[in-house]
């Protein structure tokens, strides 16, 4: 099992540490919902019911436990290592994902609009997402979870430079 080098280089800049907190809270919320579901199953489905129920009675809590450990204890830190971004003279470049990684590159000359969005949780952590949109439905670069002031500066800078060097943009 040789691990080949990555196909393309990693973007230079990492996200702020507070992104880990945000991801942990997000995972915690989904974990609570999962445990509520599993608990409801154990409470309301009688063990005497036939079929797969006896198996499910221990399988569901096990899965919920695995999910808890992975989503809260491991994934936020892995994501923080994977999620990276960079704005160069010519392009916006990001890496996202954790098991499956995705690198996205958009040249500044093809940028159509730049959005800054702040979700409820993001606001609590003082973070924001910069979305760089192009004429292609698939060519969207999202820089997740930047500090709000940084996100605003990046968006303004990208929009201004896109205006200067815009070619056909399609």
């Amino acid at each position: 099992m040789t691990t080949a080098p990555a196909p393309v280089r990693e973007p230079s800049w990492e996200l702020p540490r507070s992104a880990i907190g945000l991801w942990t809270v997000e995972s915690a919320i989904s974990t609570v919902l999962l445990w509520l579901g599993a608990g409801a199953f154990l409470l309301f489905v009688p063990p005497s019911a036939g079929g797969p129920v006896p198996v499910l009675r221990w399988l569901l809590p096990t899965l919920a436990l695995v999910h808890t450990v992975v989503a809260v204890g491991i994934r936020p830190w892995v994501k923080h290592r994977v999620y990276r971004w960079e704005i160069t003279a010519e392009a916006a470049y990001t890496r996202t994902g954790w098991l499956t990684q995705t690198w996205t590159l958009v040249p500044i000359s093809r940028i159509q609009t730049v959005d800054v969005t702040r979700g409820v949780l993001q606001q609590a952590f003082g973070l924001a997402t910069v979305a760089v949109l192009t004429a292609s439905s698939q060519g969207t670069v999202r820089i997740w979870h930047l500090e709000h002031a940084v996100a605003q500066r990046v968006a303004d800078d990208l929009a201004r430079r896109a205006e200067l060097v815009r070619d056909q943009a399609t």
């Binding site: 080949a4 196909p7 393309v8 392009a91 996205t104 590159l105």
Partner: protein, 487 residues
């Protein structure tokens, strides 16, 4: 709203009121209201009620058609097309000329009887999901052509300068050959046509009181194999004939010509469609061959045009024909990037592993079912699934490929419909490189070229990870070097 003097507002032809009355265009929206009304009154009154109802519906239809004609006007100025409509709440829509990406003139059968056409102006809308089309329904043929030429000329593109479509620089790129209809039974979308017709018919049969189907089955029929064979043969015949007829209706008299800076496609037996594409906006061509089409060497070609609404239909360069014809068209519009490079053997192994895994799953399921319940059929299916899966995997792998030329590049994928897309370098407005955990282990990656045309992205699936930086730079521009690993 517009700069400069407001152009003269024009109206559609009065005859459109008749067309819409006959086709119940506006009145159709009332159908959901009418059904409960009819159900309430019932047909108890016999003939008088039916006649009254017919008269009422016709009157409503006339009134609705007349109102919408009365409240509709359009104006094509030097900078924009302005459409005014709406009964109570007036809406004025201004489409700047430089946002117009194509004009289509179509003549449905009823319109033809009255000498009218429908002009569709395709405008690039800001947001997705917004209605991107402006329709001027019901102008005389000559006015339709004038409008098309006027809009395209104002846009500043090299639109035809002659008045009536008889531009001097006209070059025919492709012309329909009726023998191509024979390909139709092997194309999925045309095969679906008779099936849809049968579906509609069966719904109609459901509406008829009593049960005609049951009556049909109650008939004394020769039993057994003869009947089954007869039904199968009839169904097959219906399917073949239906698909050929369907293809003929849609594509009859297809002709693709280059006129100045535009490509003009004309087709259709009942509704003549006249679609115009600007060559400057074409970013690539995709040639697709379905499973059945590959057996007989057929193909279809469509242009990938930036910002074209309903691109599937409008971008068609060759709806159905020999694959050589499709490729010769593609080569005239976009440079040939050369022969495809096969993807690494690891890509084939990935597909075979998936197929074998599925086969194993079925086999294990078969063993469990056999031991638990004594049914061994599923176990027998296991090896069959595996064998078919491996064949499919090899064929899937064979269709993968990519190529880079000096001015263009190409990617190919797909088994059920194998699609090869040739794109210009300037078409690329971004790259997406994706690598799953398994792909990382195998040294593969999927590279998607983001394009503001067609489906938005075209992927080279499972190419060698080491080749990715060279491919992206060669296929787009030096800006893609941003991704090249150092050293």
């Amino acid at each position: 709203m517009t700069a400069g003097p407001l152009p003269e507002a024009r109206r559609t032809s009065r005859r459109i009121v008749l067309v819409h009355t006959v086709t119940f265009k506006q009145a159709r929206q009332l159908v959901p209201v009418l059904i409960p009304v009819v159900a309430g009154i019932g047909f108890g009154g016999g003939v008088t009620t039916v006649v009254l109802l017919a008269v009422a519906i016709t009157l409503v239809s006339v009134a609705a058609a007349a109102l919408s004609w009365w409240r509709f006007s359009y104006a094509d100025g030097p900078s924009a097309v302005v459409i005014t409509r709406g009964l109570l709440s007036r809406s004025v829509r201004t489409v700047p000329n430089d946002r117009i990406r194509g004009v289509e003139v179509e003549a449905p059968p009823v319109h033809r009887v009255f000498g009218l056409v429908r002009v569709r102006i395709d405008a690039a809308a800001g947001a997705a999901g917004e209605d991107e089309e402006v329709v001027v329904d019901g102008v005389p043929r000559a006015e339709g052509d004038r409008l098309r030429v006027a809009v395209l000329t104002h846009r500043g593109a090299t639109a035809p300068d002659a008045e009536d479509g008889e531009a001097p620089a006209e070059e025919e790129l492709s012309r329909w050959d009726n023998r191509w209809l024979l390909y139709a039974p092997l194309v999925g979308s045309y095969l679906a046509l008779p099936a849809a017709a049968v579906g509609a018919l069966s719904r109609l049969v459901d509406e008829i009181p009593g049960d005609p189907l049951e009556d049909l089955f109650a008939l004394e029929l020769p039993a057994g194999w003869a009947l089954a064979l007869g039904v199968a043969a009839a169904a097959l015949l219906l399917l073949v004939a239906g698909s050929v007829i369907g293809a003929a209706v849609v594509n009859w008299g297809f002709r693709l010509v280059r006129r100045g800076g535009s490509l003009v496609a004309v087709r259709g037996l009942v509704t003549r469609r006249h679609t115009e594409l600007e060559i400057d906006r074409i970013r690539g061509v995709s040639v697709s061959e379905g499973l059945g089409m590959r057996l007989v060497g057929a193909g279809r070609a469509s242009a990938l045009v930036t910002g074209l609404a309903d691109a599937e239909r409008r971008g068609q360069l060759l709806p159905l024909g020999p694959r050589e014809e499709a490729w010769s068209l593609a080569d005239r519009l976009v440079d040939d990037p050369g022969p495809l490079v096969a993807h690494p053997p690891a890509a084939r192994r990935r597909r075979i592993v998936r197929a074998v895994a599925l086969g194993l799953l079925v086999t294990v399921g078969g063993v469990v079912l056999g031991v638990a319940q004594g049914h061994w059929e599923l176990l027998a299916a296991g090896p069959v699934v595996t064998a078919l899966g491996v064949l499919l995997a090899r064929s899937l792998y064979a269709s993968l490929g990519h190529a880079v030329g000096p001015r263009s590049f190409s990617v190919r994928r797909g088994w059920l419909v194998r699609e090869q897309t040739v794109l210009e370098r300037r078409a690329v407005i971004g790259w997406e490189v994706r690598q799953s955990w398994f792909q990382r282990r195998d040294g593969l990656a999927t590279v998607t070229a983001c394009v503001g045309a067609g489906s938005g992205g075209y992927a080279a699936v499972d190419m060698s990870a080491a080749e990715v930086p060279a491919f992206t730079t060669a296929a787009s521009g030096p800006w893609a070097d941003t991704m090249r690993p150092a050293g």
